[in-house]
Symmetry: C2
Subunit: 104 residues, 2 copies
């Protein structure tokens, strides 16, 4: 579908992508984490997209198996949610994933 292609393009074109909801504390946490390590993620606030928001959330579920936000991609790869991203950060693996990329 066109929406599926648009999501695939977004995660391919941006080193770090977060599908988010602006009022969600877990999404705030993961955005703050990337900011703390000096990385500017490409953030898509699903609650700012009217009817498209739930549609994109469904596409993400089809593509990643994950129906929740935040939905995080690094270097085009699906990383997971807030807990997954924080785990990678604590293991030092986030840094290595990011070092391989061309970060703005």
């Amino acid at each position: 579908s066109r929406m599926e292609e648009s999501v695939k393009k977004t995660v391919a074109d941006n080193p770090v992508v977060i599908y988010s909801k602006s009022w969600c504390s877990y999404c705030m946490e993961v955005k703050a984490l990337f900011k703390r390590i000096g990385v500017q993620p490409h953030v898509i606030e699903l609650d700012h997209l009217g009817a498209q928001g739930p549609q994109i959330q469904k596409v993400l579920e089809r593509l990643t198996g994950q129906s929740t936000v935040p939905n995080v991609f690094i270097g085009g790869k699906h990383v997971g949610g807030c807990t997954d991203t924080v785990k990678l950060y604590r293991k030092g693996e986030l840094a290595s994933m990011l070092s391989g990329l061309d970060i703005n």
Copy 2:
């Protein structure tokens, strides 16, 4: 208003009250915390109440100054959100707040 009276009655009649949204991870965290310490909170899922949910959230904001969920009350007193409750727990103050109450 009648809704305001209903909220006041709820927090007066129940030792631990959580105004929550069922899909919110911060709300899940605070519910799990009380479960872990063996306390059964009275949970109101605002997203299960149709049009009343946002109205109750507005009443809570008027009563407590807090517009967010989770909104936690212990012994009729407004405690705060997830972060506030976890702080009290870590300081050992949650236990003392609860010990003074008649917990089911």
